[in-house]
Symmetry: D3
Subunit: 278 residues, 6 copies
């Protein structure tokens, strides 16, 4: 099945690099009929994501390129692992190289960061989830990368779930009023989550029967209190400045979900490369 | 002057968040005629970039939004600094908030990382330059962020200059052959840069009168030797695994340019926020 | 706030009518500087929807057009009611007339049909909801028209909720297996609805804790049995060949939701017109 | 030959349903390598149109899908008739089902409605034609559906023929002046039609040598008088509130053309379905 | 009224020149707040066309630019005539200059060439018309330029009239068969033109009641014979290798239309310039 | 490798001709399953360019069309030469014919004009280069045509090199100031060219170390003086009103480059045709 949005994204990214006149260097130096094969390699250990997208980059530019996968999205691999082999026109391989690697490096970076958080809370009942703090234009890809790293996804955008934040609460005149306004407008397939800053607001949210309650910048002690008070009636999400150093303590409070913006807004790119075998 | 490409990018980014049905939460809770004003704030010290773009996000979504700038792209600011004030429809402010901040946070992150590298080599003759390892779709914005951080730009894409890399050299059968093929094809306004791995290749590149020579993963000693041997006949660019820890020693070898991929592929996002005043 | 998707839709619709060469008739006959005003009128009683969209059609084509609304989306009006007045360039009024009326007539048609179903079940606890059987390209507009007619919306598309249909159940090997597979994949903000054909399947769906259960082509007696058996643990949606003649009996069984495809796939257009006053 | 506009329309319609994240249900439940075949079936008798478009929907989403046609656009079929078989990835079949059926159901609806009008005037010399009261974005498809139902097409848009309506006549200062202004501007391949409200205006239009004259809301008696008076010098089109109940009497007056807006703006969708054989 | 297609064309043309990074020269040298005014001047005598489009180029790039027209499309002007004044941001004037002039120069070239042909046949009953041999992407603009030069337009494309050419005749098995097939398919607002190579084919076309007959590469004597034989029953169009040297003799044969491909495919650009007054 | 920009251009050009309803004539007359083959022929001697693009036009519209090339871009051919054979659906051949020929005729025209200029200066050291006075939307194609005709390319747009023109010099306050401002802003891969009107300005440009100096409307004597004074330190480009009559004298002054706007803005189309063999 073709992923129209992925193809749009990759083609736009190729065009961004190709400009008006294409790859001046390759076209000047590499004969049009020269073929080659190349390996996509992880230079450092990482969790893989975006491998199918990176391969698709070559094929979109040139449908005659052949791809053989040696790893798959979701795999965690050691430094030096060959992820895939691409073969065909040498011009295509050189022209698409940077675009494909930029996509792959970023997505492996997100998956790898996610995997670290997921591993850090192993054995607890919490789930690592992402946020909407994604790279512009790459939300679907980065949310897939979070899944490849073992996390789960928060809402995809403003239109697929209700998340009442502090400013909404302030304008509505309270947690209960905000939830009621949201429920009156929402269809029957839309869940309602509300952000609270205090245990008192938590009680108000529970009384108003929110589906999920986001506990914003709660201390571990307050998180634990919230878990006790909620008693499974709603899902609880811890959020706010979570780091690898703090995530396990948060998870051990018994919250259901821990959302981490840094998975997508600050993960360093993974070190991936294309080695042309010739 | 309208920046068509910027508007395309911002509108696509807004659409990515809005989906089919728009901001369910805000539309359910915030009255259509409610107005508010909000401050865009740097929560941590940073070098600013993308402020005009972030402000444009609100105006694109709603031309009646008013903007007052309190800082400008290129400024380095302390934690807590107000960067701009946006005012108008409360719905617009809440709906565009995340998109604007995602753009701003990433670009301030790039500018801030660049500023650190530039400061680290202060007093040397070298210039920090970026690479094509940019975020897909954001190349022009990230290259501007590098300038805002005090760096300069390498080529924008495959079509505005010639950069002969190792694979091109291999296919051409040598540095000289590659440069000659490139020169034969290039127009009179196109410069030619060539990547070399050894001092011997450097000599070949000098003999073939390359405009710029990229010294790939040279040790500081070899960089210094290259500078001496080149004697100003061509520009020299050091590249490969440059970090904040190593950049000053590289600069002190006398190279003209130091390219750093991490400026754009691994800079953590800056911590920026929107505080609604009302 | 600009609705990008609405503007795209209206501009595409105008272009579809304008073709390459524009309105040959009007440009040949009406002087460029001639002005006029015109009333958008409901020739027959209807529930209004799409009035803002119809007005936007004129403004998109010519930002100097003035609009005064005399009714609003959601109003139910008598035959002969003036809905809005548009004034400005006579050429614009004539050129945009058909496009604006095509949009308005269809959406008033949907709202009017919905209103009839909603009125037919007045006093029961059921809610009329739409389906994905919408006009291609007009889903958001038609779903708004359903709301203007007093109904509520089912999911907007394949990606904002899970609806397990008979074919999914068959492939999964049963209702329970299907629900479990869905739950394992879904994020915490995604609700799960499942279609069942029998009361036995209903029991299975209840045991697997589906959020909503769609009772496909159940007789009123079976619907009532389903309501009794469910006892409020999940929402129940009646679906399948619902008509104005049958909807009240269905509603009186106590189901929560009744979905009606005909609201959007077969509602006749409302009779709306543009009367140029000159 | 590829129909670019059709592909644009179908892809946009698929994207409208797929959203950002695609078919959550199918992707969660149906294995990626599962194959199936399915029959597109007419649940009620209808005249077929849009079958090629519906089949193209599957192929656009997934070029590996196979199609076998059992009927063709223009056929009139009995309830239960299999129209086509689609086979391939089970995910694709389920994901594209609703989009394909929405397109097919609407177009069969238009063709079926047209066929009824055409049959109702069998034996007369009149031709049933459509109007510009089409579904936004579907004009070419709906005009093809009218042809499949046995009708013919009026102009496709504002730019491929001149149709002088009452407002144009009023601004021009009369039928003759309007026709003369139109003729002065029109190229030699553009026909001129004019709408008249009275027999006196008809005479004026005949004197000014209009190619076609639209008789707006004329009684059958006046239509017959118009036919007599025109004597074949121009084509005559009857228009305005034509229904299945009135169309034959209109046709028997001897007019050449009868235009019916309801063919496209109010035809109920045909009942078509996809039966997965597994 | 906005001309969507014109704006698309001009914006695409500006983007073609601006590339990824915009006007490097102007941005480096001209202060952002510098203003200027400039005159659009015809350096050589010409018939003006595209002036509104050229002015729109500046406004699209920068809505704050002011325009004052000193001439209008359709005027024939002497060398040195100021056509318009544009004023505002100096950067905008310099950045948009080449795009605006490229559009204007080409369209004035078409209008000027047309004017020469029209003048050459003054006093005859023939009309100069264009062809579909237009610049890709500029058909509507070039057809307007032909009108500005005093000519009239042939069909706009393949879909707004029927023109049966020699290959169609060959496939249909004769002029009559081709005309009959076309008439059976065409709606009542579509005219039918047929190309003939001989007087015998002309007779066949007349017998089949073609609306217009294109006489391809007829000698003046044969054209005159055709005019005599046709006697006003159909319009006659002379076509094929018409030049300024031959056009008057052709017109004097009494044909109705003379089509000239060179109006659009080979007209040299007019010499227009932008003089910045500062 | 797919050329995305070429495909965009060709598809848009086909759509411009096809309109909403496609090729009325061909669809009415030519059976859908009829096949044919046709030769693309140069009716007059020319230098070929755009042949691959013209062939691609057919394939884009219909991937089953077969192409056999008998000539290649860059060839200079005699009148009557067959350039390529296209075979497949007769409908496709007839529908795409005009679009393909419009593209081919224009590009062969540019290549042929370029070839004449290049031949006229054979034996001198000068190179013929193009300008930005290209057909809107066709810059990359026309610049390729210039190369096919033996010329070389000036910059592709405003963003890939710096060209300081008289207005920039005036605003900067002199040639030196302008060059210095440009150099301060430019990256290390951007060359700087400056336009001068006098020998005094030439000296200033040489002192400021411009890479290339454009001598605007210099007499041959002044060009020779400029060459002597420059002595190889910078490249010299002669520009301004160059014609076939004057170009050799200009070349013999010893300048490096001669830019000719007429190559692209005023080259008459080459006479190319499609002969259907049937």
């Amino acid at each position: 099945m073709i992923d129209f949005a992925l193809d749009d994204f990759l083609e736009a990214t190729l065009r961004e690099d190709l400009g008006r006149a294409g790859d001046l260097t390759t076209n000047a130096i590499v004969p049009a009929n020269r073929t080659a094969s190349a390996q996509i390699v992880a230079r450092a250990a990482c969790t893989v994501s975006g491998l199918a997208a990176a391969a698709r980059t070559f094929v979109l530019l040139d449908p005659t390129i052949g791809i053989t996968f040696a790893a798959h999205d979701g795999d965690t691999v050691a430094a030096g692992t060959v992820l895939a082999t691409v073969s065909g026109s040498a011009r295509t391989l050189l022209t698409a190289e940077r675009t494909a690697l930029n996509v792959l490096g970023r997505l492996c970076g997100v998956a790898t960061a996610t995997r670290r958080y997921v591993d850090a809370i192993a054995g607890t009942r919490a789930t690592i989830v992402d946020t909407r703090k994604t790279t512009p234009g790459m939300r679907a890809l980065e949310k897939a990368a979070v899944r490849h790293g073992g996390g789960k996804n928060h809402r995809f955008g403003l239109d697929d779930a209700i998340l009442i934040k502090d400013n909404h609460v302030a304008i509505a005149g309270g947690v209960r009023a905000a939830i009621e306004a949201a429920r009156a407008a929402a269809g029957h397939l839309v869940k309602i989550e509300v952000e609270v800053d205090t245990l008192a607001q938590l009680d108000e949210a529970l009384a108003a029967r929110a589906d999920i309650i986001l506990l914003d910048n709660f201390s571990p002690a307050d998180l634990a209190a919230a878990v006790a008070r909620t008693n499974g009636i709603a899902l609880l999400e811890a959020s706010g400045g979570v780091t690898l150093a703090t995530v396990r303590a948060i998870a051990e409070t018994g919250v259901d979900l821990i959302s981490v913006g840094a998975l997508t807004h600050s993960a360093p790119a993974a070190d991936v490369a294309l080695d042309i075998a010739d």
